[in-house]
């Protein structure tokens, strides 16, 4: 069973519909036991990092999530779900996050007014490494982004894909061992987004890490 973690950080309908479109059995859940038992975990989220972290703790979900990641359960972060995997976010005056990925989450500070914040729309993902997540997806394919903050990992070995916006090249896909995470909304990114989700659902992380290309 696939657990879609509901920590009151946004609308999960699209994530569930995307899983259903792939014929996957997925459950939206806030239940720590269901998350501990899940074969795969999808960790979505929209909104502010501070509220997301607070509600994750209130619901008692931080421990089961850490535990599942440690046990090697395949784990997919999406958008704010990705951001709070880093050590700290600049949002809400500074928020301590889960620190699964070393680094922080920074606000776009565009050099020109032409770059609007939030970034809303389809932007290219340049594949930095080969990874099963990218199977069947051409380099520089576009995915759907909605965000004002971006992941800035300090350890480059986490970077799987990168995207240019507002004067920065940021890590739009991260991953290591059994964890992968996208800044974009793969569930709303058309057939290629669906393909990426399918790649995650069939991924066996123990047999493949990332390798530089």
């Amino acid at each position: 069973m696939i657990a879609i973690v509901d920590y009151r950080a946004g609308n999960l309908t699209s994530v569930l519909l995307a899983c259903q479109a792939l014929g996957a059995e997925a459950l939206i859940t806030q239940d720590p036991a269901a998350i501990r038992d899940a074969e795969r975990i999808i960790f979505p989220g929209v909104g502010a990092a501070g509220a997301a972290m607070a509600s994750l703790r209130t619901l008692g979900l931080e421990a089961p999530i850490r535990d599942s990641i440690r046990r090697g359960v395949p784990f997919l972060g999406i958008c704010v779900g990705t951001q709070i995997l880093l050590g700290r976010s600049e949002e809400d005056g500074g928020v301590d996050c889960l620190a699964i990925i070393p680094g922080e989450v920074k606000l776009f500070r565009p050099p020109s007014r032409a770059d609007k914040v939030p970034q809303i729309g389809w932007n290219s993902v340049m594949q930095h490494r080969t990874h099963p997540l990218f199977d069947g997806i051409a380099d520089a394919s576009e995915f759907y982004f909605v965000h004002s903050y971006y992941p800035a990992p300090t350890d480059r070995t986490w970077v799987l894909g990168e995207t240019d916006y507002a004067g920065v090249r940021f890590a739009s896909v991260l991953g290591r061992d059994n964890v992968v995470a996208t800044q974009f909304h793969t569930e709303k990114s058309g057939r290629l987004g669906l393909r990426l989700l399918q790649n995650f659902l069939s991924w066996k992380p123990s047999v493949h890490g990332g390798s530089p290309c």
Binding site: G10, N11, A21, A114, W122, S124, F145, K188, S189
Partner: protein, 259 residues
Amino acid sequence: MLTKRIIPCLDVRQGRVTKGVKFQNNVDLGDPVEMAARYYDQGCDELVFYDITASAEGRPIDIDMVRAVARAIRIPFAVGGGISDLADMSRVLLAGAEKVSVNSLAVRNPNIIADGAKAFGSQCIVLGMDPVAVNKPAQCPSGYEITVRGFREHTGLDALDWARRAVDLGAGEIVVNSVDADGTRQGFELRLTRLIAEAVGVPVVASGGAGSPQHLIDVFNTAHADAAIIAGMIHTGDYQLPAIKDALTQAGVPVRRHW
């Protein structure tokens, strides 16, 4: 590079997509879910549905249609028309829409923008506006006045003031639909689009007047729109989305090329 979005607009009346000029002479174009699926296949970047008779008739949004669309396509779509409160917004978003668009409702009750943004996030709240060119320098110094109720009613609101205020309240995106250009297929109202696009920090979606790929090139290159709504030019079959995207690419406008 962030690409410019092409957004087909489907005006839905009694469960069918219709197209008219300035809300008149509507003709039946087809089933909304089938049309959404077709444009999705052809590489549209987003879709918008206006339940165009809902607000005049006081009917709620057709939520079953929203659910059916959400199952049929895997790209963002917005729904407008017939939204009267937060509960309506919540129903539409939980049915699978990415965004809700408010227009007349926000003019009557601007706080709905703030309430919606607080409850669901700014990225979900689109302000739709229908400005018309006017010569009322005292009341509308930008030269454009906001109309409501299908352009029938002038509000006295200046378009530029209203756009800025809506963004301050929490609108995440603004659809600028020119009353003068709507349905003409003679090109977007570039001056109006540029005025709003350069004044606000959120994405501006140009609407009204798209008739050819050149109109899209103009609105992106000279009016700095972030996205553009098209309707008649593809509903009639005069143009197809892949060819429109090819023309934009050749003109140096970044568009999504993989789908």
